[in-house]
């Protein structure tokens, strides 16, 4: 309101170029004064709030500094991606929680993209049953609270699994019980480095081949089998090296000992429940975004592609999806951010994420509520901003195609 009026009168002033106006009536001066006054008042309020809070906190003996960061925590966490024990510091507990949040966020974002795209495309399928099933999925998951879904996955699906002594064996040393999913722990032997390097080289060669094939197609119209060759290079090459080196891979098979399986890698049921809940819930929204994106591409594009003799798959891949992506990416970013932020609901099902470990136990143990909550908020802010930063770069690249 204010700005618009200022803007109009400013152009008026420039157009008629009246020489001398009293500063009292100069809209530019007035606008500046008002803005400065607002800023001053805001600054004063923030300053007062901070000073007042810290004064009151100090008066009551509540810590106001960050000295707790380097003190010994004294509690354990049941899923740690870095070395952590009860003799580690609160600072380390923060990193443990943060990494657990990032783990579920990163895997969740990737999985939910696949599920979301699949369901979104399925909703537009000409097959009646597939389309209706996808609609059913979207409407059920989108219209029930996420917390309820998490509790459902945790309490109704995972906890009724048998106890370790009656574990379900899936063969190949994989077991499922109510302590989680127990997998054999891969033990790399000598020569495993070569397999790793051959994988890297395979990927590199596949990229080179793709570039060559593209150029070939542009020059001559000939289409090379990129998919097949890439598969051979990425999977086949390391496999050949793997056997050539005498199979340098052993597995530590989990064995039932005492209360639970010893050895092997264990995936916590809390993690699986959280991941399932987040992925399936967010995928319902992504499906709708994808559907909207595809429908936004005019039908003429599809018809033109068919007229040129492209198959249904080629039309989708080469004509429809690239154009749909422009519509899809911005709201998709929102869904990624939602998934990451929603992962803080982990606290209800006992998954040790940032909120559970840091804003829960550390806060309670140290009493530094203001500092801990401020750090936690800052962390989520940074994660969200970084995610949108990369999505914006991707978006700009996709948007450039538009003419």
């Amino acid at each position: 309101m204010r700005r618009r009026r200022g803007g109009i009168s400013m152009t008026d002033a420039q157009a008629s170029a009246k020489p001398s106006i009293s500063p009292l009536y100069d809209p530019r001066v007035r606008a500046f004064v008002y803005q400065a006054a607002l800023l001053l008042v805001l600054g004063f309020l923030v300053y007062e709030a901070v000073v007042n809070a810290s004064m009151n906190m100090r008066a009551r003996g509540i810590p106001t500094d960050f000295s707790f960061w380097n003190r010994v925590s004294g509690f354990d966490v049941n899923q740690t991606l870095i070395d952590y024990s009860a003799v580690s510091t609160y600072g380390k507990a923060f990193w443990v929680g943060l990494l657990n949040t990032l783990l579920v966020g990163a895997i969740g974002v990737v999985l939910t993209t696949f599920v979301g795209f699949a369901v979104g495309i399925a909703r537009l399928s000409p097959n009646f049953v597939v389309a209706k099933l996808a609609t059913f999925y979207v409407e059920i998951l989108r219209n029930t609270p996420l917390l309820l879904q998490l509790l459902f996955w945790y309490n109704a699906v995972l906890k009724p699994l048998p106890n370790p002594r009656d574990s379900i064996s899936l063969g190949a040393g994989i077991f499922v019980n109510n302590r989680g999913l127990i997998l054999p722990d891969p033990q790399w032997g000598p020569g495993a480095d070569w397999v790793m390097w051959s994988l890297v080289i395979g990927c590199g060669l596949a990229l080179v081949f793709r570039a060559v094939a593209r150029k070939r197609q542009a020059d001559t119209g000939q289409i090379l089998p990129v998919g097949l060759v890439s598969l051979l290079l990425i999977v086949g090459l390391p496999l050949i090296v793997f056997f050539a080196m005498g199979r340098p891979l052993g597995f530590e098979i989990p064995v039932l000992r005492g209360f639970n399986f010893a050895g092997g890698v264990r995936v916590l049921p809390e993690f699986v429940a959280l991941l399932l809940g987040l992925v399936l819930y967010t995928a319902a929204f992504i499906a709708e975004i994808v559907r909207a994106g595809i429908l936004s591409v005019s039908k003429g594009q599809t018809e033109a592609a068919y007229a040129l003799g492209l198959t249904h798959g080629q039309t989708l891949k080469l004509v429809v999806i690239p154009q749909a992506m422009r519509v899809i990416i911005p709201p998709l970013t929102n869904q990624y951010l939602n998934l990451i932020k929603n992962s803080s609901l982990a606290v209800f099902i006992g998954y040790p994420d940032l909120v559970q470990v840091f804003a829960g136990t550390v806060l309670n143990q140290t009493g530094a509520a203001v500092q801990v909550i401020a750090i936690t908020m800052a962390v989520y802010l940074v994660i969200s901003l970084v995610t949108s930063f990369f999505m914006n770069i991707y978006n700009r690249r996709k948007a450039l195609v538009e003419r």
């Binding site: 354990d76 106890n163 099902i349 136990t361 009493g367």
Partner: protein
């Protein structure tokens, strides 16, 4: 433009109003409580014997009765309490921020909680220790056989820390599964997610009643820690601290003097000078606490003495049937001891 100026003025006025109010909330809790007309008491979200609402929303328990005692001392009416159920994780923040006046939620009195959280423990209304509960069919006789076990625990408790200490001391491995809410932790144990559930021994007996088949579970004999449980208040208001502390002492003194809920009116005619002072027949000992002469009379009349409160909620007359043990009077082999009223 006028609207903008008006907003500015309003914001400034609001700020000016809000800040002095905040600054004052550190003291004069009693006056605020009197002004509100009721006491705000932080309780457990649901622990039989200590703080549990029934189907009509009436709270009962040892910790709950302490709050009722405080309300009775101030208002002469034990019903003037608003109970705020709090998880272990949120309880201290709620007290620090002034959301509640007193925290009576089986909280363990520790050095760091007083020195670093800005709180003070007004006394110990239950001497407890941490134990473990397991399924009978596991055939375990001692907590030392728990190596490798998954153990459910409530997050943000001393229990979580003691468990880490215990397993470290005995160089045993374990997996702690921490839940924010006690009910979630017990449910997870009951469903088989954990081999054992750990909390204060009293809490184990109380939680066992909530399990699907209480008889299939057994509490192991080891007590691995000292857990003095009691009501806590904010630092910086000595009058309020005294009031809560002496409410607890009044209940113990009443038991020692033989004053009960039933005979308190008769005892007003007692010739024993100690009883006379206690019930306010002689002298005015309530004044210094900011209370009336009959403060202790009102407490006993409302909730009874410590022994009665104990028996009714966790002892012989309750479903928990916990023995008095350490919580007996000092004169009867326990360590509950209160300074005299004089």
């Amino acid at each position: 433009m006028k609207r903008f100026v008006a907003t500015l003025v309003a914001t400034a006025a609001l700020g000016a109003l809000a800040f002095p109010a905040l600054a004052q909330s550190g003291s004069k809790t009693l006056e605020q409580v009197k002004q509100k007309g009721f006491l705000t008491c932080g309780t457990n979200t649901g622990l039989a014997g200590f703080g549990l609402p029934d189907d009509k929303g009436n709270w009962t328990g040892l910790d709950v009765d302490l709050c009722r005692g405080v309300a009775a001392a101030i208002f002469g009416d034990p019903s003037k309490v608003k109970f705020i159920p709090l998880s272990a994780k949120d309880r201290f923040t709620a007290l620090q921020s002034g959301e509640i006046d007193v925290l009576s939620r089986n909280g363990t009195w520790t050095q760091s909680r007083e020195a670093e959280l800005g709180l003070l423990w007004a006394g110990v209304n239950y001497y407890d220790g941490q134990g473990f509960m397991v399924r009978k069919k596991l055939n375990i006789a001692s907590a030392l056989e728990l190596s490798g076990a998954s153990i459910c625990v409530q997050q943000g408790t001393t229990t979580e820390l003691n468990m880490a200490d215990f397993f470290r001391t005995n160089s045993m491995k374990y997996e702690g599964v921490a839940f924010a809410d006690i009910n979630e932790a017990v449910k997870a144990y009951d469903s088989g997610r954990c081999d054992a559930y750990t909390t204060d021994a009293s809490g184990l007996y109380a939680s066992r009643l909530k399990l699907v088949n209480p008889d299939e579970h057994v509490v192991l004999p080891e007590i691995i820690s000292k857990e003095p449980l009691g009501p806590a208040v904010r630092q910086g208001d000595d009058q309020w601290f005294n009031l809560v502390r002496w409410t607890h002492f009044a209940m113990i003194n009443a038991e020692e003097l033989g004053v009960t809920k039933a005979n308190v009116d008769e005892q007003l005619k007692s010739t024993n000078p100690e009883v006379k002072r206690f019930l306010g027949v002689e002298g005015d000992f309530g004044k210094g606490l900011g209370l009336s002469k009959a403060w202790a009379y009102q407490i006993v009349k409302a909730v009874g003495n410590y022994g009665e409160v104990f028996d009714r909620n966790v002892g012989a007359n309750s479903s928990l049937k916990i023995k008095r043990g350490l919580n007996n009077l000092w004169s009867k082999g326990g360590i509950q001891y209160a300074p005299p009223v004089r």
